[in-house]
Amino acid sequence: MRTKLSTVAAAGAAALLLASCGSGEGGEDTSASGGLTGEGSGESCTIEGEVPIGAVLSLTGAAASYGESQQRGLELAAAELAENDGVTYDLTIEDDQTDPRQAITLFDEFVNDGASLIIGPTLSNAAIQADPIAQDAGVPVLGISNTAAGVTEIGDYIFRDSLTEQAVIPQTIAAATEQFGLEDVVVMYSNDDAFTESGYEAFSAALEEEGVEVSETITFSKSDTDFRALLTQAQESDPDAIVVSALIEAAVPLVTQARELGIDVPIIGGNGFNNPRLMADAGEAAEGVVVGAAWNSSSDNPENQAFLEAYEAEYDAAPDQFAAQAYTGLKLVDQAVRANCSAERDSIQQALGEIEDVPTVLGEFSIDENRDAEHPAVVQVVENGSFAVLE
């Protein structure tokens, strides 16, 4: 058995060697790990081999619209990085079909193919199942959209540049309380979904922190579409605002029906509301909805302005938060690789953990001691059909 295995391994190695010779026709030596450590540091860092980066995105299935934005963000960042001297990246993007099992398979492949780092996966539930594979193999992972609790707790190789709802919501409530002078509110959330429920808990804690009274808490199912009875009930306690933790599917009819019933107080939403479809589908009813977000699309920091311009030129469309976070993700990876001038897995892991106050599209960016993102959130309000900063 032992001999048989080693023969297989040898054959595999030979095949790999052949393959790498085939693809390396450009002339550079891409074999083995030796080529992943270079000389110099920062901008002068030069690494001989191509740095293999894997990305697992949901390009088809339910989360396809997010995955598509992320792919665009990553490809834009990759194209820009290719213009810099010294380090070249070999970015491979694979589709997990919005299926955690497929994400696991792809993580396995990237781990075995020697990826220096894996970006993704798109959805938190896929991350929770697939990330342990990379953790066990010692491959760093950078989540670019996972916001659920517990993702980075999987281990010390798991990072994310996406601000969690738990980080955004307190800032949202604080800003809204100051702006509207909230005293009592009604809270509504779908209690059969883990994400909206954790959003609700964050809202509750934040409201208590700000001293805002919750006069009523109303629950619904994530598949509900008729909220009139619930909203009428909410209306009766005459709240200063309605706080809602729901996915976009429920958010649109909820907002529409609230305005139909003549509820014109601000509606404060969780992460699910942070979606341009809110304005596209709810139309005028969306006016006055307050949402916290990780990325301020109208921020005038130079990184953001450059990103907006480049994205617009490349895709003839405005980027969303998913594209911005994906773009930032690859730029942070570059930062980490150049910091030690090495694309070895452990080196990237160590450098990612030390990222601090880096100017990015998302603002001044740091990775905190829990390997989560740390940067200012933005509180937005819908005005004239688009998100504007609440101030």
């Binding site: 299935g61 396809a64 209690n191 109303i218 009139r228 009875a229 649109v252 009819p253 589908d281």
Partner: protein, 291 residues
């Protein structure tokens, strides 16, 4: 007052859905579980007609009605007719209609993708009225009016017209009906067509009312539709209307007086109580079969 109206409007949608359902279930004694798929499909097709075809909603509704009728004919032809000779035709038809529903939904997903879709904003006048301090939209009034009109029209058709007599004859005894010169296949097909056409209209109106069309929208209302026709009395069209309104009101008042987490417990619990007191349903007649 607002809650009362909320209950009536949501109930009238349940009723509209259930009327189509009960026509086949109550009269032909066949449970057509592809009905919810027709409900969803017609909403998506309606949206496409308005969005791409640029039709007004009023023009789209009759087209959707016809689309639903065609689907109904297809369901009868594919899922029910080939199996009608079998001893277990009721169950076989039930299963094959589930299969057909799965195919319809898969086709919808292929054509439209998994995302929630909506009518373009402003495709329906968002006129609002105020009745005794309660807000009512025009579309809600239309839904209520359409449900009532269909209920009256169908009751008339089933009890007074030749076609209706044919339906009832087929329901009682297909063989005897054939002997008496009723074209059984034709009557059955027409019943399915009308039933699905009603489901189709209900789907479009529902999608406008809640500003949402999802692939699962039929499945979400399916159980409620079944509950309504059983509580209302099998095959009783006015029973379906009353059952629908009752379920809608029960849900709304559960929210008002008990709590939003208890909607299903209260609403369905109430239905159980009704069935315990009147096993044949509110307006159902006990079927007496003499040997």
């Amino acid at each position: 007052m607002q809650q009362l109206l909320n209950g009536i409007f949501i109930g009238s949608i349940y009723a509209l859905f259930a009327i189509g359902f009960t026509l086949v279930f109550g009269i032909l004694d066949r449970l057509n579980l592809a009905h919810p798929a027709v409900f969803a499909a017609s909403a998506f097709v309606g949206i496409e007609l308005v969005e791409r075809g640029g039709l007004s909603l009023w023009a789209a509704l009759p087209i959707v009605f016809v689309f639903g009728a065609v689907l109904g004919l297809a369901i009868e032809r594919l899922a029910f007719r080939p199996l009608k000779g079998r001893a277990d035709a009721h169950f076989a038809g039930l299963i094959s209609s589930i299969a057909l529903a799965g195919m319809f939904i898969a086709l919808l997903q292929w054509r439209y993708g998994p995302d929630t879709r909506r009518f373009p904003t402003g495709s329906f006048p968002d006129t609002r009225f105020e009745i005794a301090g309660a807000q009512v939209t025009l579309v809600q009034v239309v839904i209520l009016a359409v449900s009532l009109a269909l209920m009256v029209g169908l009751t008339y058709m089933v009890t007074r017209t030749r076609l209706g007599r044919g339906m009832r004859a087929v329901a009682e005894n297909p063989t005897a009906a054939r002997v008496l010169g009723v074209n059984v296949d034709r009557v059955t097909a027409i019943t399915f067509a009308i039933s699905s056409a009603l489901g189709a209209v209900a789907g479009v109106l529902f999608a406008i009312n809640v500003n949402t069309a999802q692939l699962g929208m039929g499945a979400a209302i399916e159980l409620k539709g079944l509950a309504v026709i059983i509580v209302g009395g099998m095959g009783s069209l006015p029973g379906a209307l009353i059952g629908g309104l009752l379920l809608g009101l029960a849900e709304v008042f559960a929210v008002q007086y008990i709590g939003s987490s208890w909607i299903d417990v209260i609403a369905f619990g109430l239905l159980f109580v009704i069935l315990l007191l009147r096993p044949q349903g509110l307006l159902g007649a006990r079927k007496v079969r003499e040997v």
